[in-house]
């Protein structure tokens, strides 16, 4: 009986010891957690429109520095567009929380078959055509042309889709309706053509 009792005590002690040791090894180190380097965060979409006849570039910009935080993106358009003008456009996607800003356009171009930008104007303010293509001959949209006709007010939505169905009906002409895929970036710019 006594040996049993001793055994019991011994076991309890052993268990307590195991628990103690385990706690010490894993216990809360007071180290602060590392800040996460948000690698794929997209904060900024910039569309630069260069008038073909020369003149000042027009810059459309959407900046959302807090990512999926509560602050809405800040949208800016540097100037009004001119009627009956063709602009050469270029898109840039960046992560501006890093310094220097990370150019994510490069990643988009690296995987160009899996990405496509879509341009959706309202009120017939402009027509947009693609100026670039991926390895399969389908458009990407980083390079594009934008042509205005009459004066009007409306909006231009620029959407970047990941893994769209580029061969679906209308998609290579820039119609997003059948594109599917996932939205990586979407910005709505108010546009005035004068």
């Amino acid at each position: 009986m006594n040996t049993l009792k001793n055994k019991t005590l011994k076991t309890i002690k052993n268990l307590a010891f195991v628990f103690f040791v385990a706690s010490v090894f894993t216990a809360c180190s007071d180290d602060d957690p590392e800040v996460v380097n948000q690698e794929e965060l997209i904060t900024t979409l910039t569309a630069t429109l260069t008038p073909s006849g020369g003149g000042t570039d027009i810059v459309l910009k959407s900046v959302d520095l807090d990512g999926d935080g509560p602050d809405a993106p800040v949208i800016s358009v540097s100037a009004n567009l001119i009627a009956n003008t063709t602009y050469t456009g270029e898109l840039k996607v960046e992560n501006e929380t890093e310094s220097p800003a990370e150019n994510i356009t490069l990643e988009v171009l690296e995987e160009d078959e899996e990405h496509q930008f879509f341009f959706t104007p309202t009120n017939n303010i402009a027509t947009i055509t693609y100026n670039d293509m991926d390895g399969d001959g389908n458009p990407i949209g980083v390079q594009f042309s934008l042509t205005t006709t009459t004066a009007a007010t409306g909006s231009l939505t620029i959407t970047l889709r990941h893994e769209p169905m580029k061969t679906a009906s209308g998609v290579s002409d820039g119609d997003i309706t059948n594109a599917g895929g996932e939205t990586d970036v979407q910005a709505v710019f108010p546009i005035t053509v004068e």
């Binding site: 049993l4 055994k7 019991t8 076991t11 309890i12 268990l15 307590a16 195991v18 628990f19 385990a22 706690s23 894993t26 216990a27 809360c28 602060d32 957690p33 800040v35 996460v36 380097n37 948000q38 690698e39 794929e40 997209i42 904060t43 900024t44 979409l45 959407s62 900046v63 959302d64 807090d66 990512g67 999926d68 935080g69 509560p70 602050d71 809405a72 993106p73 929380t97 990643e107 988009v108 995987e111 899996e114 959706t120 309202t122 909006s155 939505t157 959407t159 889709r161 990941h162 893994e163 997003i176 309706t177 599917g180 895929g181 996932e182 939205t183 990586d184 970036v185 979407q186 709505v188």
Partner: protein
């Protein structure tokens, strides 16, 4: 029954006292298995000084007449058991329960501790036996539990199945795995219990918070899984189950082997391998829904009546594909996905598991020791360690393509001890304590903001339970528990979120460092939780019995409810926790009525649960980001009332047919805002007719009809949103529930004796025979795709 004879051993204690004069008193009694409360057949009760004896019948009952008042020496014995002498004082005609303790108490030391409680007649509990569990060998715990009235599941697809007890799930349910409270990030709705169902041979579901021994926060209930018994003899035995199924074109293989000795030593090893490809709805492939899983367990120990120990290790690794079409970019994608009649991405069948997917490894180590003290009770000490490592993979681009988006490593230690005072049969007491430490590490190398922060968590708990048998009709249970929880987290908040939540008003003292656009914050919270339970059961007569119980429980907010902060791609939503949440308090009353006759069994269970400061998550608006708009789902609190009824019925029709029905119904109301609660299971009724022919290889065939009603009561969280690419404002229906559905299922099996010790069972199961298209309200992928189509499963089970 045969098994019971082999396994059972004898002995018990008993006390009753009476005075009378003549020698015509009658002693009636029932001999019951101490472990599972089933009657023991063919036990011998022998009165030495009178040379009288009796044996128990199939119901475990016996009767000895013509006894004189005074002291009687009883000897209770059972085949292959040690014989035990008991002295009692007989005073008049008496009925008493005799609990027979197994000599080798089976492996599950904890469940024995638990058994004392589970056996309590005053709680609403249901047991799934080995046969049922084996039938679900290739599925999940959550699937098997749905056999029980009142248990449903909340799913993400068909591989992530979380049990729901009377409308409660996740942190409101405790899952006990071989005596260890599973700590596997159970807060998340897409985090299924990390448990291989094949490691269990008995699963008990307890509805409500009346099993305080396991924890005080199980507002929904407790699921207790226990491994198999160990035979008390020199033997080597095991079983293997192979299942193959048509839907998913998958297989699962389980095998277990046990070695035991007469002296009580045992060792046991189990493994389960599972592989399935894409599942299919009646009309299309559910792309990327495959599963691959590997599980092992090993245990050894010594089991004697006086003392013993158990060491246990389990490993389970599961990789689960998430429906490709459910991964979304923004609200526009969500609208497109909801409105599409079929998933937007459906490719050919494949075994590949690509992103989005999750890969989880859970490891558990347990050692326990128990010792019995004569005429006093039993002491038990246990230490357990668990590690849960969860990776979730989203669809990513570039170099991060194969990098996890979420990498959480959760380690939990627990030390617990209990002492059960069971020297008297009519009153038992149990006291216990538990101390636990948990650390969560969220790996920053994912390159994605942490959804759950790093934290340390401490828990200390004490409980005491009393069980009183008033007479042979009435039993009372009372329990009290206190728990202290402390959580110490370190979390980054973007400054904009911090201000938007108004945390700058209340919590600025928690800030410990400034990281440009983010604050590093150190929230420390402490909670004191009191819980109590009380129950009474009353046997009206041989056929009718009732029970009533009451449970008070508190649950502290979990890390997800406090700290969630980020974008969930699988749901296209931003989820936000709330630092201001405090514990919720549940007051639950329930009652059972049970009828049991030779051919009929019926159980009616009803409950009412009022939960103050009930925590839930619901859409609260939209937020604009550079990806477009997202619905925001916030953790909130309200006061809730839930009530429901569960019904089980079984009727023998002649000797070969059995009709069964299980039905359940539940309502949930947000009483503060006078609206319905979200995610309340639909009413459901299952009718089955079974044909049994024991003399022909134990043949059985069961046809079951499962009817699920439409959930008409749901909160309206629908909203309108502007879709820029089509320049339209659309209505987003995230609330309306799917239509009612009806499924037909069939199962047939037969068992062939290959040799003295070897049995082969062959089973064929067909589910969704009519290949019905349907969507289940509590499947989170119901917005995107139909549920499973017809499936044939062939199962071979070899016992040796």
């Amino acid at each position: 029954m045969i098994k019971r004879i082999f396994f059972s051993v004898l002995f018990c204690v008993l006390s009753f006292t009476h005075f009378a004069q003549e020698c015509n008193s009658i002693l009636k009694g029932i001999v019951i298995d101490y472990h599972d409360g089933t009657p023991i057949y063919d036990a011998t009760i022998y009165i030495k000084n009178l040379q009288k004896y009796a044996t128990t019948n199939f119901e475990g009952k016996f009767k000895i007449e013509g006894l004189c008042i005074g002291e009687i020496h009883l000897t209770i014995s059972h085949i292959s058991c040690e014989t035990k002498d008991v002295k009692i004082k007989l005073e008049k005609d008496t009925f008493s329960e005799f609990f027979l303790e197994h000599h080798i108490e089976s492996l599950k030391e904890v469940s024995i501790v638990a058994a004392a409680n589970i056996k309590s007649k005053t709680i609403q509990s249901t047991v799934l036996n080995e046969e049922t569990i084996a039938a679900f060998s290739n599925q999940n715990l959550g699937d098997a539990l749905k056999e029980i009235a009142g248990i449903s599941s909340i799913n993400t697809g068909n591989a992530i199945v979380k049990p729901v007890i009377n409308g409660m799930h996740s942190s409101r349910i405790i899952v006990m795995a071989n005596g260890v409270r599973l700590q596997d990030q159970e807060w998340g709705i897409e985090h299924a219990p990390n448990l291989d169902i094949n490691t269990s041979e008995k699963i008990t579901v307890i509805k409500g918070a009346n099993s305080l021994e396991f924890g005080g926060d199980a507002i929904g209930g407790v699921i207790v899984t226990e491994p198999s018994n160990i035979r008390l003899k020199d033997s080597l035995y095991g079983k293997s189950i192979v299942s193959s199924q048509s839907n998913g074109r998958g297989y699962s293989f389980h095998s277990s082997l046990s070695k035991s000795t007469k002296k009580g030593w045992y060792v046991n090893a189990k493994t389960t391998l599972k592989k399935m490809g894409d599942f299919e709805s009646p009309t299309y492939v559910l792309s990327n829904t495959g599963i691959q899983s590997t599980a092992y367990s090993l245990q050894t120990g010594l089991k004697k009546f006086e003392s013993g120990f158990n060491a246990y290790y389990t490993f389970i690794n599961t990789e689960i594909g998430i429906l490709r079409a459910s991964h979304l970019g923004n609200i526009e994608d969500l609208v497109n996905a909801i409105n599409a009649p079929a998933p937007l991405i459906a490719t050919d069948f494949s075994y590949d598991i690509d992103s989005p997917k999750q890969a989880v490894t859970h490891q558990l180590v347990k050692v326990d020791y128990y010792k019995r003290f004569k005429k006093l009770g039993k002491l038990k000490v246990q230490y357990d360690f668990q590690n849960n490592h969860r990776f979730e993979y989203d669809i990513r681009v570039g170099n991060d393509r194969n990098k996890a988006s979420l990498d959480l490593d959760l380690s939990s230690h627990a030390l617990s001890s209990s002492f059960e005072i069971d020297a008297k049969t009519d009153q038992k007491y149990k006291v216990g304590f538990m101390a636990a430490y948990q650390n969560n590490f969220a790996n920053p190398n994912t390159g994605i903001k942490r959804l759950i922060p790093d934290y340390d968590k401490y828990d200390v708990g004490f409980f005491t339970i009393g069980n009183f048998i008033f007479n042979d009709q009435t039993t009372i249970d009372i329990g009290l528990r206190y728990d202290f929880n402390a959580i110490n987290a370190k979390k980054f908040y973007s400054k904009s979120r911090w201000d938007e939540r108004d945390y700058d008003v209340d919590f600025n003292d928690l800030i410990i460092e400034d990281f440009n656009t983010q604050w590093l914050v150190n929230p420390k919270f402490q909670f004191h939780n009191f819980s109590a339970s009380a129950g009474i059961s009353y046997q009206l007569n041989d056929e009718n019995s009732v029970l009533f119980n009451y449970g008070l429980s508190n649950r502290a907010p979990n890390p997800s409810e406090l700290f969630s902060d980020g974008l969930h791609h699988s749901a296209a939503r931003i989820e936000l926790g709330d630092l201001r949440l405090e514990q919720e308090t549940s007051n639950r009353v329930s009652a059972n009525y049970r009828f049991k006759s030779e051919n009929t069994a019926m159980l009616v269970e009803v409950f009412f649960n009022h939960i103050r400061d009930f925590m839930y998550i619901e859409p609260t608006g939209t937020e604009q980001t550079i990806r477009g708009a997202f619905p925001v789902w916030s953790h909130k609190k309200t006061n809730a009332n839930l009530f429901g009824a569960d019904f089980s019925f079984k009727q023998h029709l002649g000797s070969q047919y059995i009709f069964k029905n299980t039905s359940s119904f539940i309502r949930g109301k947000d009483v503060k805002n006078n609206r319905d609660l979200i995610d309340i299971p639909s009413a459901k009724t299952v009718n089955s007719i079974g044909y049994y022919l024991e003399r022909w290889y134990d043949f059985s065939a069961v046809l079951a009809s499962e009817f699920v009603f439409r959930q008409n009561l749901f909160p309206d969280n629908n909203f309108e949103t502007y879709i820029p690419t089509s320049d339209t404002t659309v209505f987003v229906d995230v609330s309306s529930t799917p239509n009612r559905y009806h499924l037909l299922n069939f199962n047939a099996d037969a068992t062939f004796k290959l040799s003295e010790k070897t049995n082969l069972s062959i089973g064929l199961t067909v589910t969704n025979i009519l290949n019905t298209n349907y969507r289940e309200n509590l499947n989170r992928l119901r917005f995107f795709a139909d549920d499973l189509g017809r499936n044939y499963t062939l199962q071979l089970k070899l016992k040796y």
